[in-house]
Amino acid sequence: MSMDAVFRALADPTRRQLLDSLYARNGQTLNALCERIDMTRQAVTKHLAILEEANLVTTVRRGREKEHYLNPVPINEIAERWIGKFERHRLDALSDLKKRLEREEP
């Protein structure tokens, strides 16, 4: 369960897309995830396994279905390791400002 595994998992655009898909709708089955991505079922399964290995995705069995949940805990661990608690407030403010400015029409 190393940070290396987390960074490796995040280094791939398809895997980030899968995480985005789970962020939009948590608890999706493999079928549901495949519907939203232009890729073979096998490839999606492989990417999900890498995400699970890195603990970025966790699965729950409900009957015959396996649901996939986004697990952002390792990302928080990374953030806490490199972003001190004092910088955090300033970064939050900057990130809020960026969001506000980008929302406004030019």
């Binding site: 948590n26 966790t58 649901e67 805990v73 608690k85």
Partner: protein, 149 residues
């Protein structure tokens, strides 16, 4: 598929007993739970409360299941945001499973229907669990007060 469930997992280098104590002891709680702590006598049917650092009750409920140091299920309702309180009770399940030298801690927070608390805790749990891991592995949690946003 469920929009009203979140499952968070962290792997912590510790023992089941230490992890259980961290989860249920108020002094331990304060060091990783956004400076808040829980109040309960930890028996099935006992009342349960999560208390903010300033003494206000953040959430309240009841112990539904308890099997130290393996499993804890809490009936959980928000108390400090009227519109969230209105949505009623949720269920929060903690499970601890040894996985080699690590303890796998899973927190499942779910509601029976759409519930505003679930979106709220979704912001809190990842931080609390990362802080708990840091506390147990390095002796130091994040000591951050809860954000009121």
């Amino acid at each position: 598929m469920s929009d009203n469930t979140f499952v968070y997992v962290t792997y912590i280098r510790t023992t089941p007993e230490k992890l259980w104590t961290a989860l249920t002891d108020p002094e331990f709680n304060r060091q990783f739970f956004l400076c808040s702590y829980q109040e309960s006598d930890w028996k099935v049917g006992s009342s349960w409360k999560l208390i903010f650092p300033d003494g206000r009750v953040a959430d309240s409920g009841e112990i539904l299941e308890i099997d130290p140091p393996r499993r804890l299920v809490i009936k959980w309702r928000n108390e400090w945001m009227p519109e969230v309180k209105e949505d009623g009770y949720t269920r929060c399940t903690f499970t601890i499973e040894p996985d080699g030298e690590l303890m796998k801690l899973a927190v499942t927070h779910e509601a029976d229907g759409p519930h505003r608390l679930i979106a709220n805790v979704a912001k809190g749990w990842p931080l609390v669990l990362a802080s708990l891991k840091s506390l147990l592995e390095t002796g130091k949690g994040f000591e951050r007060p809860p954000s009121k946003g």
